[in-house]
């Protein structure tokens, strides 16, 4: 009986020590994880990806929020939030192939509709992109923004950051861009994007809508095979 009590005490001691040690290690791992790597709360001092964005888009017609030859009847529409990291991954990993294979040859147009769902920093970013679109640099702006995206709602979307993106995106008249992005005309545009996205049943960004002569497809995913399959279906 005494031995059994001894064993119980020893067990409690061991397991308490184990739990304490584990919690200490977990806390240390989380602290290291949070402090390590690139600090995404600060935008990079030099913007990344300018050359890649130029190479991707040069020579493709763009008019406001539409990229590509608008004589085609098929359109791939993305509802995205510039603060959304998955949209940034889409912009880096899926969109270049879609542009190269489908938009550049004139098979489809690619339209981007800002859907501000992540937080207060999303709206000024969207308005800055729309203002860049007034000077036909919308897609240069959003691709560069995504390539230099910071942590959600961390305050990195400053006037300085937006102006650097705009300048690097090749917006010719920055003074005009500054006036345009402050305009109230974007409020109904953004409200309509929001209501359209919701009425299509979308629940998050990026969400893809493919439209064409054969109707429209609101996609569940955003992989290239799924988009290309939808293009075939509504062709």
């Amino acid at each position: 009986m005494e031995g059994s009590e001894e064993a119980r005490k020893r067990r409690v001691q061991y397991l308490s020590l184990a739990t304490f040690a584990a919690v200490a290690v977990i806390v240390a791992l989380i602290v290291i994880s949070q402090s390590g790597g690139d600090d995404d709360s600060e935008p990079p001092s030099t913007l990344r990806g300018a050359a890649e964005v130029s190479a991707l888009l040069d020579g493709i017609p763009q008019d406001a929020q539409v990229l590509g030859d608008q004589s085609t009847a098929i359109s791939v529409v993305e509802f995205g939030d510039l603060q959304c990291p998955v949209c940034a991954a889409f912009a880096a990993q899926v969109l270049p192939q879609l542009i190269t294979d489908q938009v550049r040859p004139g098979n489809v147009t690619y339209e981007y509709r800002p859907w501000d769902i992540i937080g207060p920093d999303s709206e000024p970013a969207s308005k800055a992109a729309l203002a860049a679109g007034e000077q036909d640099r919308f897609f240069n702006f959003i691709q560069l923004f995504y390539a230099n995206q910071g942590e959600e709602n961390s305050g990195y979307v400053t006037d300085d950051f937006l102006q650097r993106v705009s300048t690097e995106a090749g917006v010719p008249d920055i003074e005009r861009w500054n006036a345009d992005r402050a305009a109230t005309k974007w409020d109904p545009v953004l409200a309509k994007d929001n209501s359209d996205a919701e009425s299509l049943g979308f629940t998050g960004t990026p969400s893809i809508l493919v439209t064409g002569p054969g109707g429209q497809r609101a996609l569940e995913g955003f992989g290239l095979p799924e988009i290309e399959s939808a293009i075939q279906q509504i062709r």
Binding site: Y14, A22, L29, S33, G36, Q93, E152, G221
Partner: protein, 152 residues
């Protein structure tokens, strides 16, 4: 309660499965790519691209391999040393997996199926290790070691 021998076998199997999953993730990311999601979506790419894929410059999957290797080793070690090491390692593994899952859901906004698989394996490892530790710690060296084939 299953015999300690059976718990140790289960822990070893889970450790081996974990090593396999973590090794696949590490190799896929080490080659400059990312694990391929089994049921579509781009979650694995997004997670692999995120800054949280590394911890102090070390790929998280490599840390996972080390964790599962310790779990495997602790399954093979009899007595309180094995019980204690297995329980602590699995507890750390589950705690860190919960943190990584939180990051996937609320920070990275993407789910990597391979990471979920690893988290499930780690949770199962904790269940087995906790069972072994709570039932057998303090009972002395195992009288029916893994190699002997006797039940407890």
């Amino acid at each position: 309660m299953p015999s300690e021998r059976n718990l140790r076998i289960a822990a070893a199997v889970l450790g081996l499965a974990g090593i396999a999953v973590a090794t696949y993730i590490a190799i896929a990311e080490g080659g400059g790519g990312s694990p391929k999601c089994l049921v579509g979506g781009g979650g694995c790419e997004t997670v692999a691209e995120s800054k949280y894929a590394e911890l102090a410059g070390i790929n998280v999957a490599v840390i996972g391999i080390a964790g599962y290797a310790i779990l495997l080793a602790s399954a093979l070690v009899p007595g309180d040393v094995g019980r204690f090491a297995g329980f602590v390692t699995a507890l750390i593994g589950v705690g860190f997996s919960l943190y990584l899952t939180y990051l996937e859901l609320f920070v990275i906004d993407a789910i990597c199926q391979w990471c979920v698989m690893s988290a499930v394996l780690m949770a199962l490892s904790l269940a087995v290790a906790a069972g072994r530790a709570f039932a057998y710690t303090g009972t002395g060296l195992e009288t029916t070691p893994l190699q002997s084939g006797h039940g407890r």
